[in-house]
Symmetry: C3
């Protein structure tokens, strides 16, 4: 019985510890095809080799969120199997595109620990790095989770709370080598709106909605080799529902945001994010975005736009929080990211 992985408890982490996560994964066009079957993804750079080449890339990379999901999925058995809650993300950076045939692996460094006052749980901060077969950094992000203690009587470790940027600056972002939007084809991309057409504070209702099915979120979550029981096993929760992987909601909302943000081609930075409410099968997911900031970049024709992406269940308003400062019940996701767009 002891050969199975029971996951790590709060006492099993130490600041400075590096965890090399298991099961490297070679990803190719099959993963791309499935991504496009599971989400209404239409950003042209991730759809067409010729479009990507016209933008200075050797060919079309795998979607930025595929990189995130694969790298994240590997951390689950070591980081979040006993997690009570996924508390936040910060300092997410996409550094090297993922090309078909690349093999991804992940490692996480523990950068913070703080026992909660109840003595039963604690918060663990990890910085996760995804590497390809050339040991190049593909992406990295910080995540913090609340983890159960194995033994409530175990002594608390010294509290270390990392200082994290609330927003990445434009200099923190990596622009893919060669990216050039000078000859960008707005007609093929699907919308005429360029970087200059977006104003800080502008909100965009993405209009479309998708009603989520069990088979779809499970296929997605499995494809990223995410092993959290709660997504797959209907007997795990007392209510018999399978909790949908938060990343499924991110990808769904990002894909829906094509309608109004078709030219926000590549995600390069993740400033923060909250899974505001759990999502279950049968929910119709909608999305809206808010332009939070804009910046110029050194790449030809390439601007950066900082966006808030909000996923909601159908029928909800574009209000985020109530008077008590808490997310309203229809808000599923509140994500803060940087994307690249033709100027």
């Amino acid at each position: 019985m002891t050969k199975t992985n029971e996951g790590r408890f709060f006492e099993d982490y130490a600041v400075g510890q590096v965890i090399r996560h298991a099961v490297p994964r070679t990803v190719k066009m099959g993963e791309r095809a499935l991504y496009h079957a599971l989400y209404p993804a239409r950003h042209a750079l991730y759809s067409s080799d010729q479009f990507a080449q016209a933008c200075g890339l050797p060919f079309s990379p795998l979607d930025d969120m595929i990189a995130f999901h694969v790298i994240f999925g590997k951390t689950v058995p070591d980081v979040s199997l006993n997690a009570v809650a996924n508390l936040g993300y910060a300092e997410g950076r996409w550094v090297t595109p993922v090309w078909p045939g690349d093999t991804l692996r992940s490692e996480s460094e523990v950068i913070g620990l703080k026992q909660n006052s109840n003595g039963k749980t604690g918060v663990v901060w990890v910085r996760t790095r995804g590497l390809n077969q050339h040991d190049e950094l593909v992406m990295e992000y910080v995540r913090w989770v609340m983890v159960r203690k194995r033994d409530a009587d175990a002594a608390a470790p010294e509290a270390v709370v990392p200082e994290l940027k609330t927003v990445l600056s434009i200099d923190d972002l990596a622009i893919p080598r060669g990216l050039d939007f000078t000859d960008y084809d707005f007609e093929l991309a699907g919308e005429p709106h360029r970087w200059g057409d977006y104003a800080i504070g502008e909100k965009i209702d993405h209009v479309d909605g998708v009603t989520i099915e069990e088979a779809e979120h499970m296929m997605a979550t499995r494809l990223w080799q995410n092993t959290a029981k709660v997504h797959f096993d209907a007997t795990f929760r007392p209510d018999g529902q399978r909790l949908i992987y938060g990343g499924h909601v991110i990808s769904m909302a990002r894909a829906l945001s094509f309608n109004g943000l078709a030219n926000a081609q590549m995600i390069v930075g993740l400033n923060g994010g909250a899974h505001a409410n759990p999502c279950f099968s049968g929910t119709t997911v909608r999305a809206w975005s808010e332009v939070l900031d804009k910046a110029e970049t050194s790449a030809p024709g390439v601007g950066a736009v900082r966006l808030r992406l909000v996923a909601t269940s159908a029928g909800g308003s574009m209000e985020l929080k109530g008077e008590d400062g808490k997310y309203l019940s229809h808000v599923l996701l509140d994500l803060d990211y940087w994307a690249l767009m033709p100027v």
Copy 2:
């Protein structure tokens, strides 16, 4: 709010106008694998590189209906987002096979316009062409749809109703370069019946049935980047049902027709088609075919057969229409196409 696509209304079309549709798409073996997971497709030419090579092709192309779906999907945001009804197809021709790695894009020319007498809607005829990355014509077809007017008081355009062939002649059909059925392996293909064994007027009940699931039709429809809300959003229709993309029913019926038509290998012409009744999740789809015509071709060992393919919901008879000339309620699809078969 104005950055999202509201779709075109009847007034937005003019005869002669060419619409270059957005989001080109590179398709490879991942799309093939998904096609074979979503439909019980077994035609050997689209299943095995070696079988295709024995038929004179360089390797196995992507299924003919993948070409149709990808090319069709791109037209939806420009042609049918505000469509009230999909009225018909004509003059569909598969010209160049799609090879793994090809990138497809679509453009449509408006070839007809006619306002309806109610003044609220009109009929738009478009000829859609799918092109690959070499600018070769992959396939083309005419489709006509009923589209809402934005403003009921807008003046009616001059009515232009195109003359369309009700049936393509054998000379209209393109045979893939190199196709040769002289050494065709009937045993590996799955059935002994050759072109000469089929009689005009013969009907074939394809026996098998598939009960359709929400997750499957949505994955298929998304894979072709078809954005019509009614297929994905359960809150869109008052009855809470998601309408199944008509192309899903076509592919399902075509795949079911293997049982009795295993040697009708390649679809090369679409004479016409009607989505006779809407299809919803939970329906068990069955199919039957009728041999409408036969023709010889100039390619070695290759004959052409014109088929009516009818999809029905389970329990229905092989009757098509009632005394009032309308399709019976169990008929989902009535398609008229040309396929190539070994003589």
Copy 3:
């Protein structure tokens, strides 16, 4: 009506007869991606080209069970369309790995026939061989099924019951050329347990569970071009349920067994197996294993372990059979196989 395949009846088989099954199939990385979306498969050798190369292989082969499913699927129209029951497997051997781009086909030799005393059915034994495009043996196995007679009055054939090994010996197993576990990376593979850590008689509860959906088992079963109506057509059984393909349960249980058997990398022998009870959508599948035997091999660093893999529906105990010697109702699968593991 007579052009469709009605399947073979007991009278249609003769000992010595070789049936060449239809529809060869080229499999690539799309099938791999779908396999990993449909099952929580994490064995590193089938996930990463680099991991496979570190184990002496040219790159990562397609999962061993993909080979089985594709080869098995082709036999269904000729062997089990009129089968009343799938009675057993024996002498299954994986001989040559399947590489992306390989084309698989199947042929079966009838090696046994025995009419049942009721005169209405009989047992047919076939040895099925799967071959690749180089005519190399990919895998083979013996299966026996109970098949209906077309005509109850037809004379019984001479009974021939083949002698089959109940267990393959280590010398019967093929080790993939080049396989070398000397530099095996246990950390990347996901668990520290090596061959020497497993004791004969040891039982492992694999802990995790997956609740099965209709869309998922149908997509899997279609992907292998398995045509048995009962898996797809909800109108086929009086109770309106679709029976889940037994191979879906095998792959699910095998993938779940990663948790505790992460280093049982490759399946090389199938000693026997029983689909103890039917499985339907909504069932939460769990798995446990028992170490039945161990053996050394001649390949560097490679040991073999004989395992019993049991799939159960959630809530069931680790008991297999009742006092009457029959499988308990919660047991779905009882499989006996050999796998390769680092010593």
